[in-house]
């Protein structure tokens, strides 16, 4: 690594990042797509936290949601369908200095990448995972996803989806080492920003499911909830989010929920008619995989040399060496 003899180091302190410092390519999502709201919230978070763009990596899989890294001016990794989480784990494991975000969709996370999702929660590595859940495959043009409501007419389910949807919140809350689970809806951006902030500061894997609209294929999916604020239940707590007076005027159905109460969180998750919004569960005490596996010594050339030589010693047959010396080893 070279230290450039210019004034760059001195300037670092003065560096101030504006929103446009995080803006990458122009987003090409459909007008009205919930992904736009998530992107805006991400850029605001980076700006508010003044994160150096070179220390941020947005990792994604494949799908509409997974285009997000292209629209950030940070490092981005737009990889394989379903595999965002293991890639993100590999990035984070030996680079604790990097802030890792994962954008994944309901197909990416809950279907093709479901195994990785469950194990990612169990690894509990320090990263923020946002599930863009629009309950349909968009990029491949309207097929039912694992979170699609039963009966959904789609190109692969012309007579209606035959299975009950999988609930990402219940699944996440059921996995060992779960440490942060929250749910938001894309039509209440203020709550989303608040929760994203909590998630970012949470030490461990924070999982946020965003219920978002797909204006192209399922434009009316959330209409009943959007038109009737009483069908939204805010989970309020000082360890989660406390809705502002303005929000509380619209969303009057609120319940005090302590995010340390896992059983109660599971009850809220299985609520059928109302959409709970807020932090379901939060536990900072769960250890992170990268910390559990962090080596206790520096990985230097000298350390490698002495370790390798010691291993060679174990397997070496020495020529013409006095027998006593051999016996002592």
């Amino acid at each position: 690594m070279s230290f450039a003899p210019d004034a760059r180091c001195l300037l670092l302190d003065d560096e101030h990042y504006d929103l446009e410092d995080y803006a990458g390519a122009t987003a090409r999502w459909c007008t009205g797509c919930g992904d736009n709201a998530i992107l805006a919230a991400m850029q605001r978070l980076c700006r508010d936290e003044q994160l150096p763009p070179e220390k941020i990596v947005f990792v994604s899989g494949i799908g509409c949601s997974s285009r997000l890294p292209h629209y950030m001016k940070t490092y981005g990794f737009h990889g394989l369908h379903g595999r965002a989480l293991p890639v993100a784990e590999g990035i984070k494991v030996r680079r604790p200095d990097l802030h890792v975000f994962v954008s994944t969709g309901d197909g990416d996370c809950c279907s093709i990448g479901a195994a990785h999702w469950i194990h990612a929660i169990r690894y509990n590595m320090d990263m923020t995972v946002v599930l863009h859940d629009n309950q349909v495959y968009g990029l491949t043009k309207k097929q039912a996803s694992p979170t699609s409501p039963r009966g959904l007419m789609s190109n692969t389910t012309p007579r209606g989806a035959s299975l009950e949807p999988l609930d990402p919140i219940s699944v996440s809350l059921g996995v060992a080492n779960v440490s942060f689970v929250a749910q938001v809806v894309d039509w209440i951006p203020e709550l989303f920003s608040g929760i994203l902030n909590l998630a970012f500061h949470h030490k461990g894997l924070s999982f946020i499911r965003v219920l978002q609209r797909c204006p192209e294929f399922l434009p009316n999916l959330f209409d009943p909830w959007m038109h009737d604020p009483d069908k939204v239940l805010l989970l309020a707590h000082e360890d989660g989010i406390l809705p502002s007076p303005a929000i509380s005027r619209t969303y009057r159905r609120q319940e005090n929920h302590d995010p340390s109460d896992l059983n109660r969180a599971r009850e809220f998750a299985s609520m059928a008619d109302r959409i709970p919004v807020g932090v379901f569960y939060r536990n900072e005490a769960v250890p992170c995989y990268e910390d559990l596996r962090r080596p206790d010594k520096l990985y230097t050339a000298d350390a490698i040399r002495s370790a390798v030589e010691a291993e060679f010693d174990r397997f070496t047959v020495w020529p013409g060496e006095p027998q006593e010396e051999r016996a002592r080893r």
């Binding site: 220390k55 293991p86 047959v317």
Partner: protein, 625 residues
């Protein structure tokens, strides 16, 4: 046993030999492999060349006294270097007669059989009859059978002979082959180094009991003279050599999922590599292991993922991504019998073509193969270096026969040049592009996360020099050309492969991977009869080194010898239009436009030099006068 006695009597009766093949066969769990490995280490310490081959049953606890459950080891000992497991066995120790039955076609004429005799008087008449029948069968075939009360002798020293018989047998072998008893005792201490002292002591006692029993009751004495060893040598198997290579290459992360026969590499790494500060990540599946390694490497920590055939298939999508996004990655495939679950513990070289061409689309990557144990070590270091220099995927092929084979090789002298450079975190110059391909070599500098000014989104989609998604087919084609160009540039660094034996003549035998020793030995035997045969072994399979075609043209005929399938021309429906060739033969025919024939065998075990010799002779035909 008495060291002085054995030194005084180097046995004038001892038969001098160039080499001998010893097998120890038992039920699973009776320690035959530990016995053979330790015996091989003693022989190596004596200065002999050795090669071991493990005989592994498919199940963890197969039924006792069964042919399928035979678990054991073959140790070939030679005066000079030994480069393969040899032909038929010259001396076999069997813990019961049943485990021997599956090995009857592996016994050399006049083979010495040391048979555990306790079954002779077994209360179960069926067992006693089976023993008597097998014994007389062996004698009829001219084998020299020695009945040895292994368990009865062990019980004089320990309460449970099941866990001690192996060291008693090692004592027998040490006496028969005139090994230095002090070296043997030391080796027992090393073998049980992790156990407490009482375990070491009782095993040394059993070793001595075996040694003394042979001294008193057996007239068998063989001597395989060894030159004085001049340099320290490592005795490890192929998987441990791979693991040592990972450590010495400066890699930081190994991501894996358990799969036979690759897993023992990760067992060893989990212990030694982690102690050093490296990390073994046991992922939730093969796909995740590959993706994890890609993530670590993308973040500047070059990583390896180690697997075997089925796991390799699962990683193909990830390998394609690493090629497309130009992320360095080393993938080790310790091949086994395939396709599908195939024969997990058996040797086969069937994955060459899927290693070269397995991913969808045009995905150029480097494919190399290790040919012996030493090569397993150095190949990982080379692979890491190529992967990082050329920002590409390097597939390193080993196989089940190297995985568990032990062979001594000169102790490597550690070099810092083996290590990966530290992660570059310097600022990226303004307007630099993340895929600024050099037009001639296809190479471009890599922007690792953390480098100020280098922010870009890497993608598996077609992309331009900025890393932006390319919808334009011309930009896509330019990118494909540059990735292909990297392999061309790399190929320019390779040297023509060496030809062993005749440099021109009647037949060139070409091989790759673990078959090298057997091929060279076979070709040498045929040359001894005056036939003009050369052999060439390929380390790089993709790209192929220069000069291969020119070499082949110096010979009247060319054939590959591989441990994989090829259609037999003697089968009724097989002809030139439909014959499926062995993996390497396909490659060479396509690349060089030379009529390359092939000979292959799927015995599930390393090719024997004798079988190759026969194939060569058949290809050569009668000598022309």
């Amino acid at each position: 046993m008495d060291g002085r006695k054995s030194k005084q009597s180097p046995s004038s009766r001892a038969v001098d030999l160039d080499q001998h093949v010893v097998e120890v066969i038992s039920d699973a769990g009776e320690g035959a492999q530990k016995c053979g490995q330790s015996f091989a280490s003693i022989a190596a310490a004596m200065g002999n060349g050795v090669w071991t081959e493990e005989i592994i049953p498919a199940e963890i606890q197969p039924p006792a006294r069964s042919t399928a459950g035979a678990s054991g080891i073959r140790v070939r000992i030679g005066s000079g270097d030994v480069c393969n497991a040899g032909d038929d066995a010259d001396l076999v120790v069997a813990f019961n007669e049943k485990v021997l039955l599956g090995r009857m076609d592996q016994l050399a004429p006049g083979c010495v059989v040391l048979l555990e005799s306790r079954w002779k008087e077994d209360p179960d008449p069926v067992i006693a009859a089976s023993y008597a029948q097998t014994r007389s069968g062996l004698l009829e075939k001219g084998y020299r059978v020695y009945e040895i009360p292994i368990e009865a002798e062990c019980l004089k020293h320990v309460g449970n002979a099941r866990r001690g018989k192996n060291m008693f047998v090692m004592g027998l072998l040490c006496r028969i082959y005139g090994m230095d008893p002090d070296l043997a005792r030391t080796q027992v201490a090393a073998t049980f180094a992790k156990k407490d002292e009482s375990v070491v002591a009782s095993n040394q006692q059993l070793l001595e009991a075996g040694f003394d029993w042979a001294e008193e009751h057996l007239e068998l004495r063989f001597r395989i003279p060894a030159p004085a060893v001049a340099e320290p040598r490592l005795v490890v198997n192929g998987n441990t050599a791979l693991a040592l290579g990972v450590m010495a290459s400066g890699m930081e992360v190994c991501a894996m999922y358990p799969i036979t026969p690759a897993t023992s590499t990760s067992h060893y790494l989990s212990e030694a590599f982690e102690r050093m500060g490296g990390m073994v990540h046991q992922a939730e599946d093969e796909i995740a292991a590959c993706a994890f390694a890609i993530g670590a490497s993308y973040a500047g920590k070059c990583a390896v993922t180690i697997t075997s055939g089925p796991g390799y298939s699962l990683k193909q999508e990830g390998i394609g991504l690493a090629v497309m996004a130009e992320i360095p990655l080393v993938v080790v495939n310790v091949q086994r019998g395939g396709p599908s679950t195939g024969q997990p513990t058996k040797a086969e070289q069937g994955d060459l073509l899927s290693a070269c061409f397995g991913s969808h689309g045009d995905a150029p990557k480097v494919v190399m193969a290790a040919s012996d144990i030493e090569d397993c070590f150095y190949s990982v270091i080379t692979a890491r270096r190529i992967a990082e220099t050329f920002r590409t995927v390097v597939v390193l092929l080993s196989d089940a026969s190297l995985a568990t084979a032990q062979q001594p090789f000169p102790r490597p002298r550690f070099s810092e040049a083996w290590l990966a450079p530290p992660v570059d975190q310097s600022p990226v110059p303004p307007r630099a592009q993340p895929y600024d391909w050099d037009d001639r070599t296809g190479l471009a500098e890599r922007f690792v996360p953390g480098r100020p000014g280098g922010m870009h989104t890497l993608t598996g989609l077609a992309h331009d020099r900025m890393g932006h998604v390319a919808y334009d087919p011309e930009i896509n084609e330019e990118a494909i050309r540059h990735r292909s160009q990297k392999l061309i540039a790399f190929q320019k660094t390779l040297k023509p492969p060496r030809i062993v034996g005749d440099q021109e003549g009647e037949l060139l035998v070409v091989g790759w991977g673990s078959t090298r020793g057997a091929i060279e030995e076979a070709a040498e035997r045929v040359r001894a009869d005056g036939r003009r045969v050369g052999s060439m072994h390929l380390r790089f399979l993709q790209p192929l080194a220069p000069g291969i075609k020119a070499t082949m043209q110096k010979f009247e005929r060319v054939m590959t010898v591989e441990n994989n399938w090829c259609d037999r021309t003697t089968d009724e429906l097989v002809d030139e239009d439909n014959r499926r060739y062995s993996n390497l033969a396909w490659l060479l025919r396509a690349r060089c436009l030379v009529d390359v024939d092939c000979w292959g065998q799927l015995g599930g075990r390393p090719l024997k030099p004798g079988a190759i010799e026969q194939a060569i002779r058949q290809k050569l035909g009668p000598e022309r006068r």
